[in-house]
């Protein structure tokens, strides 16, 4: 099953993926209605990134908006069956 995965090593935690994903779903900027959740811990410098089952890979829009709008090229579509890339730091 295709899914979006994140390369934690190059993710800067800007939350743009969460934001544009919510726009895809709602036509507004509504992070709570995003398939993606980004949480940051400024004291540890960590970025937690999660994606849930509401992700539809933006089939109606071609390339997923999160992948398209990531300035850090941290997101891509993974076609593997098993998770192989950690989104943990």
């Amino acid at each position: 099953m295709n899914r979006i995965v994140r390369n934690a090593a190059v993710c800067y935690g800007c939350k743009m993926c969460q934001l544009v994903c919510s726009f895809h779903h709602t036509g507004t900027f509504w992070p709570e209605r995003s398939s993606i959740r980004v949480s940051r811990n400024p004291q540890k410098g960590t970025v937690k990134w999660q994606i849930d089952t509401t992700c539809d890979l933006c089939r109606s829009e071609g390339k997923p908006v999160c992948v398209r709008n990531c300035s850090y090229e941290a997101l891509r579509i993974d076609t593997a069956q098993e998770p192989k890339e950690s989104d943990r730091e």
């Binding site: 800067y12 509504w30 949480s39 410098g45």
Partner: protein, 654 residues
């Protein structure tokens, strides 16, 4: 206490209707009455474009002339920019405005992070706090649930401790926190408000005002949305802006790598034109000292573990630093910018451990690093000149290069211990107590200590000197044609000719950036011009539904913002043309060594720049006063009337 509603109605007039971008509400908080309520933000933003502009308008409307910063009637205004919370690249900024604790006029500090976006998702563009709490409190904003909660258990905690404890208490990892540290609690004048522990709203003593009101923190969580007027057009505008950023990949990459701090570039030309050494005794620092500080293996870059980005930022310039135990305890945290290097150079300190400790400690104590660097370097010089001795400094040997003394002095300042108490009420106050001509050596603008250079980069110095919020380089400072943009002029950085036009252009773009909430690095101040006012006009049209052109933004809204601050100063202070010149020392003493030996901030040359600058802003050349003609053209007739009543509007020709 109730709001002066009738007065506000009379002075807010609409220039158009905003149909998107805003969250829609201003959250009003009265700490004495323990009450909160809301009002619409749109009528303000329609007049000012929002963000800092609206904060300035609120202060203009509601602060009586003669009100001091520590009077309960002073307002502490937080304002997220009008585009914050949308997908505009780098639209993450919040302006914090209040009475400036140094000048008594307009105070403003601007900060990034995610706090502003979270505030907007909670439904508010602004939080405006009046009066004082009897006991320490924090504000908890969770959508329309707003509570003034007890913070006695947080009082005395550092910034890092506060962030930890509040996150635990509120049990939500997405909470966003703006807090003060011990410095703000102790009403140290140069106190900052820290967002996410690392992004400091540093200038104007905003943290001191928050401490005076006994507000330890504002914790925000929002679950709502921000709508834009024309979603499709808006996303095209965002795609255009992103393409512009990506087209300049080399510059993006360099800002990411260097954390915008030119960390490893020992030969960055700014090191020769923008350094102030030993509190202004010279403007040249030997290359080997810079090389030691920035050495990739043993200098500050070796302590950079990763780099992080603020909300919606396509650049990412914020390093996460980790300092092992050594001279000082182990420290780690986000944030370390070029000011960190400039700050320690002011003490002739080239030890990288001290540089990083200085920065992280300033954050943890809630101190403004510029105030610390400019103020404490001045005290070091007072010590060198014999105005103070070891008895006065609690035994500290305040000698150039002594990092341990600097770090200990910072702690004393934040907690008002010993000599720290002398310095906490502001360096000008300390100079009065120390006497012996010590004030001459204090670099300050309108009372606020300044780390800025004036003798070599002339346009930079002009912008800092004329900033309506008392110094600071983000109000139009230019350091070469890279900062000038299409509206600027060509000039030689070290000479005064032809610079005022570019300073005005840069000041105007900054007005727009602060109103819309766009970071200057993604905007016009990076040298890359990732985005320009043409982009801003596209955003305002598609997100906010205001049919504006780039010219409308630059010739109307940018002028409104500047004039509101200038007018606030005219109403509340006696600042005049003399206060728009660089500190006296830099006008009198020349650079002693290096390639710019012999340079100074020549008074005649600066005055010529100032003439041109006033003319471009439509100010009276002789007095710097505003004119009715300009104010009425931009819809500020009410402001002109106020100034005329106080006799601080240029007299009209008969």
């Amino acid at each position: 206490m109730t709001l002066p509603k009738n007065r506000r109605k009379a002075t807010v007039s609409k220039q158009g209707t905003i149909k998107g971008g805003l969250a829609g509400k201003i959250l009003r908080v009265d700490l004495a009455a323990g009450k909160v309520w809301t009002e619409d933000s749109e009528p303000y933003a329609a007049r000012t474009l929002g963000g800092r502009g609206t904060n300035s308008l609120i202060l203009m409307n509601e602060i009586e002339t003669g009100t001091k910063w520590d009077h309960p009637a002073n307002l502490l205004c937080f304002g997220a920019g009008s585009l914050v919370g949308t997908a505009v690249p780098g639209a993450c900024r919040t302006d914090i405005s209040t009475i400036n604790v140094f000048s008594g006029g307009k105070g403003s500090a601007n900060v990034g992070g995610s706090w502003g976006a979270e505030l907007k998702y909670a439904g508010y563009d602004h939080v405006v706090i009046r009066e004082k709490a009897e006991r320490p409190v924090y504000l908890y904003i969770n959508d329309d649930r707003v509570e003034i909660r007890d913070a006695s258990w947080l009082w005395g905690k550092t910034i890092y401790e506060t962030e930890d404890l509040l996150r635990q208490e509120l049990g939500d990892e997405n909470i966003e926190i703006a807090a003060i540290g011990p410095a703000g609690e102790n009403r140290v004048r140069g106190s900052a408000i820290l967002i996410d522990t690392a992004k400091a709203a540093g200038g104007s003593g905003v943290g001191c005002v928050m401490g005076d009101k006994k507000v330890k923190a504002i914790a925000v969580r929002g679950h709502g949305s921000i709508k834009v007027f024309d979603p499709q057009g808006f996303m095209e505008a965002v795609a255009n802006a992103n393409r512009q950023c990506q087209a300049n990949r080399a510059k993006v990459q360099s800002m990411r790598q260097s954390g915008a701090a030119r960390f490893e570039d020992v030969d960055f030309e700014g090191w020769e034109t923008c350094m102030v050494i030993r509190n202004g005794q010279d403007d040249f620092w030997e290359r080997e000292k810079r090389a030691r500080l920035m050495n990739p293996e043993s200098g500050t870059p070796s302590m950079r573990r990763k780099v992080r980005a603020c909300f919606s930022c396509p650049i990412g310039c914020m390093p996460f630093m980790e300092k092992a135990p050594g001279k000082y305890r182990e420290m780690k945290g986000e944030g370390f910018w070029i000011n960190g290097l400039w700050s320690v150079a002011r003490f002739d300190i080239s030890d990288p451990e001290t540089a990083v400790a200085f920065w992280l400690l300033a954050n943890d104590l809630g101190l403004d690093s510029d105030y610390v660097a400019a103020g404490l370097a001045w005290i070091f010089e007072c010590y060198e000149k014999g105005f103070l001795d070891k008895k006065d400094t609690d035994g500290l040997e305040l000698k150039w290069g002594n990092g341990e003394a600097l770090i200990e002095l910072m702690r004393k300042l934040a907690y008002r211990e010993g000599i720290g108490d002398l310095l906490a009420d502001g360096m000008l106050e300390a100079a009065k107590k120390i006497g012996r001509g010590s004030e001459y050596y204090l670099s300050h603008l309108k009372g606020q200590p300044s780390i800025e250079p004036f003798r070599i980069p002339k346009g930079w110095g002009l912008a800092v000197s004329t900033s309506p919020v008392a110094g600071r380089h983000l109000r139009g400072s230019i350091r070469g044609p890279i900062h000038s943009g299409p509206g600027g002029s060509d000039y030689d950085i070290v000479h005064c000719q032809n610079q005022a036009k570019s300073v005005v252009w840069q000041s105007k773009t900054k007005e727009l950036e602060d109103n819309l909430g766009i970071c200057v690095y993604v905007g016009t101040w990076s040298g890359a011009h990732f985005m320009t006012p043409a982009n801003y006009a596209e955003f305002v049209r598609t997100a906010m539904g205001l049919p504006v052109t780039e010219k409308d933004l630059m010739e109307h809204f940018a002028v409104v913002g500047r004039n509101l601050e200038k007018a606030f100063n005219s109403l509340h202070t006696n600042l005049n043309r003399e206060d728009d010149l660089p500190p006296k020392r830099f006008r009198e003493e020349e650079v002693k060594t290096g390639p710019y030996k012999g340079f100074k901030a020549d008074e005649d040359e600066y005055n010529a720049m100032l003439d041109e600058f006033y003319e471009l802003w439509g100010l009276d050349k002789k007095t710097g006063m505003q004119t009715r003609e300009v104010l009425e053209r931009i819809g500020l007739k009410d402001v002109a009337d106020k100034l005329a009543r106080k006799g601080v509007l240029k007299k009209e020709s008969p």
